[in-house]
Amino acid sequence: MAKDEFNEFKLVGTRPDRPDGLDKVTGRARYGADISAPGMLWGAVVRSPHAHARIVRIDTSRAEALDGVKAVVTRADFPEGLTGEDWNLQENTMAGERALYDGHAVAAVAATSKLIAEDAARLVEVEYEILPHVTDVDDAIRPDAPVIREGAADATVPEGSPPNVARYMEFGFGDVDAGFAEADLVMEKTYKTEATHQGYIEPHACLGQLGEDGKGDMWVCTQGQWFIRKMCTAVLGLETAQLRVTPSEIGGGFGGKTTIFMEPLSLALSRKAGGRPVKIVMSRSEVLRATGPTASASMDVKIGMKKDGAITAARAEFRMQGGAFPGAPVDMALYCAFAGYKLSAVQHIGYDVLANRPKCAAYRAPGSPMGAFAVESLVDEMCRELALDPIEVRQKNAVKTGDKASYGPKFGSIGLVEVLDAVKDHPNLAAPLGPNQGRGVAAGYWFNHNGETSVSMAISEDGTAQVSVGTPDIGGSRASIALMVAETLGISYDDVRVNVVETGALGVNEPTHGSRATFATGKAAVEATGHAIREMCRRAAREWGIDEEAVEWADGAAQPAGPNAGKFPPMTIKEIAGKMGGTGGPISGHHESVPDGVGASFGAHVVDIEVDPETGRVTILRYLVVQDAGRAIHPSYVEGQYQGGAAQGIGWALNEEYIYDDMGRLQNPIFLDYRVPVASDLPMIDTVIVEVPNPGHPYGVRGVGETGITPPLPAIANAIEAATGARLRDLPMNPPKVLAAIKAVKA
């Protein structure tokens, strides 16, 4: 059902002003770097200029002697004996025996001003023994590549594998050889994507304070304050509950702020400086060099297709590097790669490879864009070869609710068919195209996530409501939560205040990631509100002297549930709240769970481009995002997610990449050279919200934040071939590459 045609709710589905809007348009909202504290020191980090080097000696004496320096830390200030991911995080926070990438932290200082701290950092002397390095994934997977870490392979990796393979996976079903044999066309190609950064405009920033007694406080811009707490305490050997982490407003995250980078350093420096708070704000080049970009990928895909477009078999082998630690999202890339296709035979193989690059972090549907670039490009190439319509081929092979997914389990409720129908009907597809112009189509998928969720709400004395949630508000979730709670209570949207709280105020919450906030926090908020409603009904029942079961809640009031219950006028939330102190005490509701009923989101994009034949520059003329939201609680913010994901995908497709020199040093660590889309690069981005309600959520919500970054990569490659006849299989498709490809076609 199309959005805005029919709305059975009073508030859900409307577009009120977001509650933090006033703070954000006036500059009053406080982000990670916007806080100061009495006695505060500034921290600065000393970073390796080498991609791979043994740390021979660190001499901090000159730094310590500088007036104003109050503490210097090295790896020696961290506990030993960590294992697994805890060890990975600690090793990434501060190098041990070796610096593993250009920008790897080797020491940190705290001083009375930012400038003194930066001067002191330059006075730390580090002696390095430079080692051979490797940054490209296909080089890193060679048996003779420089070894990042001895014994890095986990139990999944076959004997005799190259030394930098940290994880291996292999899964599938059916007989792919038979499937390829019965196909009319079999194509096999290799596609490559380069690492990109989430590119949030706000650099990482925190203010940490840690005393000798092991009690600490931190203010930090983060997607997940409980994750920061858990990781910092693990890396520093502290007790979890003794560290309280307060999330600031966050200036973008997209996955990159779900983990720690310099946060433990501020705590370690603080403790060493006698408990004085230490503020660390990363520079943009530190962010690009030393936080968590996504992985780069080299992918081989093979598909068998019949003349009528039916896919008979598919095979994918992906190699991905996620930096000097395991964790490249090659598993999720493989799970998503063929997710939109109903297959009887499929085989997936994946390698997670180490390289001398920063430890990768999640980036909006981690892995899915890479896999989509490969598969959706190849499907398009095959459609061209067989003269088939790319949308019809996807419709022909589309998975439906209950179908077996390419990654194994059966799908629950999904809306790919509805999305493709909406694409086919859209007027953008009828827009005429001129010379050097072309149209590309591609689909994308993300599972969405549930995760630990803990929400608390309470009724105030005047009948207004407050909700304490643990998921930082990145995209407008305070508005959506308020809408759902107000709808459930039957009160006005303005009578609900949603607060994002610190770790001491609620049970554990997973971060705002995995497109989970509106789904999981929303579901928990509705449940919690239900508890409060039941208690308010109980209070009314007692006052009326009738059974609890005989009271129901409607339109913001307790009322008798039917004529036999008795003739009592409705008791409003205001009345109940006004006397709650004398009728039993505070009225609140809580809900903790790992909510079930997650709904996945499919999307499809259509892009029209024009290629300048003299420069290879690609201009986006028209862009359409169609995606299944389940139910759009606040349609403006759903549209915002669609448009934002598309813009990041466009940047990834056309310009963004990590460029390393032959010494393994990052060459483009500032926004001038790491080129993200600007306002003049893009047209208006058209959106269609398809709603196939998710039965697992009280209002039908599906997460929407991530799927949107997936289709742009292949859609643009497909449009470029349509416009020029040249197929690019290597991102980014920047002007020099497009120009070279056009020339090759002409030759």
Partner: protein, 82 residues
């Protein structure tokens, strides 16, 4: 307690003597995971690192979720997001 089939997603095949699908006796997710490790100790570290259990298409991380022979059970890498 009943006999359930568990589909494994990845290079776990090497750790289960080549089996893609393993049969164990279990009434809950927790029992199923423990039984898997007992039958094939090699999978222990991988499961400890974190898995998602998908039952009839629904992901669960709770050890106490009940399972029966009618359920379709998949073990997958721990999924999160960005």
């Amino acid at each position: 307690m009943a006999t359930v089939k568990v589909h494994l997603w990845s290079g776990l095949r090497r750790l289960t003597d080549g089996a893609d699908v393993v049969t164990v006796d279990a009434a809950t997710v927790g029992e199923m995971l423990d039984a898997l490790v007992t039958a094939h100790p090699g999978v222990g570290p991988v499961i400890e690192a974190g898995v998602s259990v998908v039952i009839d298409g629904e992901m669960t991380t709770s050890r106490h979720t009940g399972i029966s022979p009618d359920n379709e059970i998949y073990l997958m890498q721990r999924l999160k997001g960005g």
